[in-house]
């Protein structure tokens, strides 16, 4: 249930930003999650809706973009998408790789009035 804690953190970021921009209501929350963070979207939406009850973000839609895992090989520079948890270069086989995408827990924007 890390969804709940992450939803609480998101709620505080959203409400703070909405107040700063003098919004009276937040209608959309646009976020990205990497595959590796293993968030279940329906549980997350439920947790968020409970967290923002009686706030200006109540009833906001949470739009979740799931980002697939990508890596870059430090040895040969190959940029590749990861399948089946193979965390090594699919070209030269090196285990020296950087995870470039797939660990995001990112708020892109909010919409409101």
């Amino acid at each position: 249930m890390h969804e709940l804690k992450i939803a609480e953190e998101l709620a505080s970021v959203v409400i703070e930003a909405a107040k700063k921009e003098n919004l009276s209501r937040v209608t959309e929350v646009n976020i990205s999650f990497g595959e590796l963070v293993q968030i279940v979207p329906d549980i997350f939406r439920f947790a968020f809706s409970e967290t923002v009850r009686d706030t200006l973000a109540e009833n906001a839609n949470v739009n979740i973009e799931i980002i697939q895992v990508r890596m870059r090989c430090i040895d040969c520079g190959n940029d590749f998408r990861v399948t089946n948890n193979e965390f090594s270069c699919d070209s030269c086989g090196s285990a020296d790789i950087d995870i470039t995408e797939g660990r995001e827990l990112f708020v892109k924007s909010i919409e409101g009035e």
């Binding site: 976020i31 948890n85 965390f87 285990a95 708020v107 909010i110």
Partner: protein
């Protein structure tokens, strides 16, 4: 009206974790974040580890538990500073709770802090505590599929302990599957196969962790 935010949701946790990491580095204290599912043997591993290291190093322990201080009571006999964090239902520790309890330790008089995270394989791996490294603990009784199911933890951990090897004959645990999945995810992870109840394999672990403490805490 759309407002761009472009911010990591866990920024607050990350910033605090960075503060904790700097503080510990300045005090030359290493922190080991121990992560496993409930019942894999984190507390028993700590008991075996403290038994051997308590004479050589100055050790502190942070016990994360949803409720109760049962794990902390098991470690009381070692006479070292132990602080319990009850998460009250929360499934992981975070850097803010760690930062608060560090005030209970004399960091000038410590080499290492072992943090026993709440038993869970997903949530704790998302929350940086400011640790020096993560240690994953799994037991053969849980099955050989844990690395494949929870890749983030095994990707990020510096070392993994496979515990309860004395039970292997009574389970369908496949060492071959476990090894191959683990290598795919993190071929550099250091692995120790142990039985904490029988003592098998503990020597290599104790030598390695002693080397980590001496090597890192005196940089």
């Amino acid at each position: 009206m759309e407002i761009k935010i472009m911010k990591n949701i866990l920024d607050r946790n990350q910033n605090k974790a960075n503060e904790v990491r700097s503080l510990l580095a300045s005090k030359k204290v290493i922190m080991v974040n121990i992560i496993s599912s409930p019942g894999a043997g984190k507390t028993t591993l700590l008991e075996c580890t403290l038994e051997c290291l308590v004479k050589s190093f100055k050790i502190g322990v942070i016990e994360g538990d949803i409720t109760t201080d049962r794990d902390a009571r098991r470690l009381k006999r070692f006479g070292i500073p132990i602080v319990v964090i009850n998460t009250g239902g929360g499934c992981h520790l975070d850097s803010h709770s760690i930062s608060k309890v560090l005030a209970h330790f004399d960091l000038d008089d410590l080499d290492v802090i072992f943090v026993e995270n709440v038993g869970n394989l997903i949530c704790p791996s998302q929350f940086d505590l400011g640790e020096t490294f993560k240690l994953a603990v799994v037991s053969v009784a849980e099955g050989d599929d844990k690395p494949e199911k929870y890749p983030m933890l095994f990707r990020e951990a510096r070392a993994v302990i496979l515990n309860k090897t004395d039970l292997i004959a009574h389970t369908d645990f496949s060492n071959e599957n476990f090894t191959s999945d683990l290598n795919k995810i993190n071929s550099r992870i250091i692995r120790f196969d142990v039985s904490c109840t029988r003592g098998d394999g503990l020597r290599s672990w104790l030598e390695w962790i002693s080397g980590q403490i001496t090597g890192l805490s005196h940089i």
